[in-house]
Symmetry: C2
Subunit: 476 residues, 2 copies
């Protein structure tokens, strides 16, 4: 480790900051009447149909809404109108720009003696193009990454990794890395195309899309995900011991820049001094194009819109002192564009973010609660957890902020985690089967109840949960 | 009713025939040693992997095999080779001709304010074409049939009937009538296109294809089935009270005449005097093009090929006196062409058909047994039922011959029914999801055991089950 005057100055500044933090802040408390109101909200939410009506409306009237598409623009207008009709006090749009990716058609086939169609879908970000080649199977990403340069010349790489089912979705990490990093590894080994067993947990005949990216300096290749039965079919064909040649024909690709909007609705806080402080909840408005984006993430938009609506309906005397800000984020799917834009615009105000939480893991019941609240707010957080218990929710030392509130959390906003049961989430995620009928209205209402209780109590606290700007990381 | 000399002559002939039948035939018996062998077959089949290997091979190496396609021709060669490799004594092909229908592409979409894709598939026999029109929803076929002529001019008829799930598949009758009769009813009312909620019982995002037909004198219109979530989407959109316009774009249609083959394998009977008599079992070799034809009807081919194989493996002394004839029928899906050709060729020999049975209802466990055996063979049939009991199979007064043995049964062949649990069959039937992974190998083995026991005992009986040419129906 090298010593320098700059480093010494930074250390001194850090110590000074620590000393300032060392003065113990007042313990955050939530007034007792807030718990009575939260209990009312909880019971009302369990009977309320608003969230169901919202997700029914979004998935039916708009349907799929790929970021940057005409339907995405319709969804923005829909969200703006919906916030207004649900009694939000203030509704506004934050512009968000991003590269536009489009999918027109996609076909796959086994060629030769076993000619038959393959059910595949382009990964988001894949270039178009038609390639034919023998497939080379790898059981996982590490095996592909170990393939020597040039060893896949003229071939199509096939990663056949099986995602594991889990309530908290922890199988998605390794499976989605195969989607994000596999194509670049294939290119490095010389491959002309890339296919993977979908990052999914069912055995139905649709592939799971999702975004990929290509490392700098590499020439992208057509990259697609196979339905699970189709990946198994290729593995069985390969087990015969002879080369298996396939065709991937994708018509898709980048097409300039698009803009969309974070659509934001607020229930203004009742306390003039505190109403600049916000509890942020939300979901993302965009979806992949294959399904109608019911569990990903119409549900999240509906749960949080519905929770805010219930708070908006309270008598004035029961309104929380702080503002509830519900955000329908733009373009989560292709790179958290909405969440990053929000953080960029609001990072100077990070300390005024009381708590942030996002619903983006389907519509299963919430079973766990956690927050990274500062020590002086731990008791208040524990009381929120108690208020969620009647919904079957337990405090747990796990979780994190949702994807779109991740960037503002990285700026220092305190986050909460309302952990949904995602056992079935990856049966539907990023597939044509992500449709309204997969949502259980009772489970949806439980989610809305949890978000209403959480947002109301967080907004009603005397004191904060520890949001503060993070010191910029040291640059050498 | 008119009286005539011809009618009087026919009545006299009928009375004479009745008198001949009145001489009571000898009671059919199955020798005791046959039951010991049947029990051995049963236990061996439960451990045997042949049927699994057969269906794995067919669905993997051939895949979808629409009648008349290149893959159908490959399937014929596959079946011929498979019979030979499984030790069948005699393998032969019976040519079958039929009109050839092809599917090239299909697209559907909601147009206008709620623009979004629809998941649909052309019904077999539909013409190609692109039509756009407002949809008119009917809850069932009767409602569509009641639509006045001209009332659907320029419109697309939409029948939104929900098929019911049942172990014996009895929901398929009314649902498939909507597929077969709906398009003609729509044309009579003036419609330019036809869509229906698929005849299926799941909630996944694929439509169920299947053949339709157009009544004489009508000009066919593009006709398609919607995935269940898409049908529900249309119903929800219509519930908003405004017209909903959709596009159906089908590239498909009739394309000349094709030929294929019934592929037939025989285990020759051990008794020179009886080996001309046959027990017929089988399934159909063709499939729809969307899936790989695993449960419809790779399973049936595999079960019956595997059952015959086990009988072929018996020591010579245990071979049954009659021949076991296993048939992989051609083009069942588009109109029982293989079954009809078989009956046409063999109707003069109908009395030499000891019993006929087909496996064409998936790969679920067999739960019921029945036969239309003549009275003198009822006791023998009951003993076959007893031999099936250890497999969890009960004698029941229901069922009938399978589709492809229906025509020879109509000529007078006695039939048996080995009733499979089809509770899940219509989740998969005629969809892309009809793939190998949906078959439970243990259930498949139970089927093979049942067919081996049944075929062996039927072929071993002393006496027949009542097969006899049916008098031609009186023509006025």
């Amino acid at each position: 480790m090298r010593s320098s005057p700059m480093l010494a100055a930074m250390l001194a500044a850090t110590i000074a900051a620590s000393a300032a933090l060392a003065a113990p802040p007042r313990e955050t408390r939530i007034p007792d009447p807030a718990f009575a109101t939260a209990a009312q909200l909880r019971e009302r939410a369990l009977q309320d149909r608003t969230s169901w009506q919202v997700v029914e409306s979004l998935t039916t009237e708009i349907g799929p809404r790929l970021a940057g598409s005409e339907a995405d623009a319709r969804a923005v207008r829909w969200a703006e109108a919906k916030f207004k009709s649900l009694g939000y006090d203030k509704v506004w749009l934050q512009p968000v720009s991003f590269p536009k990716w489009v999918r027109r058609s996609e076909h796959g086939a086994v060629l030769g003696d076993h000619a038959q169609p393959l059910h595949l879908t382009a990964l988001g970000g894949s270039p178009g193009g038609t390639v034919e080649g023998d497939i080379v199977r790898f059981p996982d990403l590490a095996a592909l990454e170990a393939a020597p340069a040039g060893s896949l010349a003229g071939k199509i790489a096939f990663v056949d990794y099986t995602m594991q089912r889990a309530r908290d979705g922890n199988g998605y990490g390794p499976a989605s890395r195969i989607r994000s990093r596999g194509p670049s590894a294939a290119i490095r080994a010389g491959a002309i195309g890339y296919v993977m067993r979908s990052a999914g947990t069912e055995q139905h005949r649709y592939p799971h899309t999702g975004v990929t990216r290509f490392d700098e300096g590499l020439t992208p290749i057509p990259s697609a995900a196979l339905a699970l039965p189709d990946a198994e079919q290729l593995a069985r064909l390969l087990s015969r011991g002879r080369p298996i040649r396939i065709r991937i024909a994708l018509d898709c690709g980048w097409d300039g820049t698009a803009s969309s909007f974070n659509v934001i609705g607020e229930i203004t806080g009742s306390d003039r001094r505190l109403r600049e402080e916000v509890v942020v909840i939300g979901g993302h408005l965009d979806s992949w194009d294959l399904g109608t984006g019911a569990v990903d993430d119409g549900a999240g938009v509906a749960i949080t819109m519905g929770a805010g609506h219930l708070i908006a309906q309270l008598p004035k005397a029961q309104r929380p002192p702080r503002t509830i800000r519900v955000i329908a984020f733009a373009n989560e799917e292709q790179g958290l564009y909405g969440g990053k834009a929000y953080a960029e615009q609001h990072k100077a105000a990070v300390a005024r973010h009381q708590l942030v939480a996002e619903s983006d893991f389907g519509a299963g019941r919430i079973y766990g609660f956690n927050t990274n609240a500062a020590p002086h707010a731990q008791a208040a957080a524990a009381r929120i957890a108690d208020a969620l218990k009647p919904l079957g929710i337990e405090a747990m030392a796990k979780g994190g902020p949702g994807p779109d509130v991740g960037p503002i959390a990285s700026e220092g906003a305190a986050w909460a985690w309302l952990g949904q049961d995602g056992s079935d989430y990856f049966d539907l995620h990023h597939t044509p089967d992500d449709t309204l009928d997969k949502i259980d209205p009772a489970a949806l209402a439980q989610n809305t109840a949890a978000y209403a209780v959480f947002a109301y109590l967080a907004a009603s606290a005397e004191g904060g949960f520890g949001s503060a700007p993070k010191p910029a990381p040291a640059k050498p």
